[in-house]
Amino acid sequence: MTRVKRGYIARRRRKNSLTRNITQQKIRALVSAHRDRDRQKSDFRRLWITRINAVIPEKEVYYNYSKFIHDLYKRHLLLNHKILAQIAILNRNYIYMIYNEIIKNEDSKEYLEMI
């Protein structure tokens, strides 16, 4: 018994063509949630990197995220991106202190190499 009322199908065709059933909506929602839970991890990492990259070059020209992370690894610091981004926003001066620590030792090392 399909199409008892002819207008029902016609109305659907006219008005809301982008409809899905509720079951379909639920399925798509679950699939998106599952997929995005994995993407969430990379999304947040991108966000943190962007935030760190925004804060770092304020102290010195030609200094950016990539150099900062390289120096972090060289100086044996294990802080991860989430914490760095949080510190960059909430306690701005601590990032500068970290940066000073890193730079200080690098200068001394260069001196030693030169000598």
């Binding site: 599952h34 992370i69 044996h76 802080l79 914490i83 949080q86 601590y94």
Partner: protein
Amino acid sequence: MACRRYFFTLTRHYSSLRASKSQSFHPLKSLTSHIPFLQRLPHTLSPTFDSPSFLFRNFSSRTKNPKNPKIIDDEYDDHDDNVEDDDEDEDDEEDDEEDYSSEEEVAVSNEPSKFSDRSYFAEDKIQEAADIGYKVIEPLQRSDRVFKPYEPAFAVVQVGSHQFKVSNGDCIYVEKLKYCEVNDKLILNKVLMAGSPTQTMIGRPILPDVAVNAVVEEHALDAKVIIFKKKRRKNYRRTKGHRQELTRLRITDIQGIEKPETPLAVKPAKTSAKKAEKVAVAA
């Protein structure tokens, strides 16, 4: 990429150093060369990133001998003593371990040894697991005024593989900690950075003197997450629910960093009292 590899080896080296002195590598290597059949399983797994923890468990199975119950005490002895004791253990345990490895070869490598050891040396296991998760348990106590008002100092603490920026009175959710009950006091000793208005300390990689006290509030399950897999047009659909087990910790204190004394709220009252006294004296 070289940096990431370097970082990786750094963390591995660091955690192995922290867990056991560097000398412990040598007795292990001598053991593995001596009986390759026995030590095949963890040895193949050691290249993966869990190598320090596997080495640790390996050690515990080695020292099943009640002569040397505690691994951590052994490391403070001389290198020679360690090697001798382990050789003795080898001879005792050869038969036992051969049976084990012949039965369950590849798949469940460290787990049977862990379960078998748990009953023998619970103290050892607790200490090992605590080191892996970077916490130390203190006995729980009642009627302890542990909760202080907020202090403006923070510390960056690592528990397992997660890092948290933590200050007094905070509440953090952490992967379930074994060997911990509710109302237990913990010390989180892997502190990467600590800061306060007066002092900042940055650890390379950790700060050895700073300790963060926490109290276990509850062991709870996370909200349910539905894992839904679907392949379209192939008639394949799977639903599964998952609740992660978490532990809630409340941070009570950060020790080892200077906190500024903030008698701001108290000062006006004191000064006004002094002024009143002075006036009285003058008059």
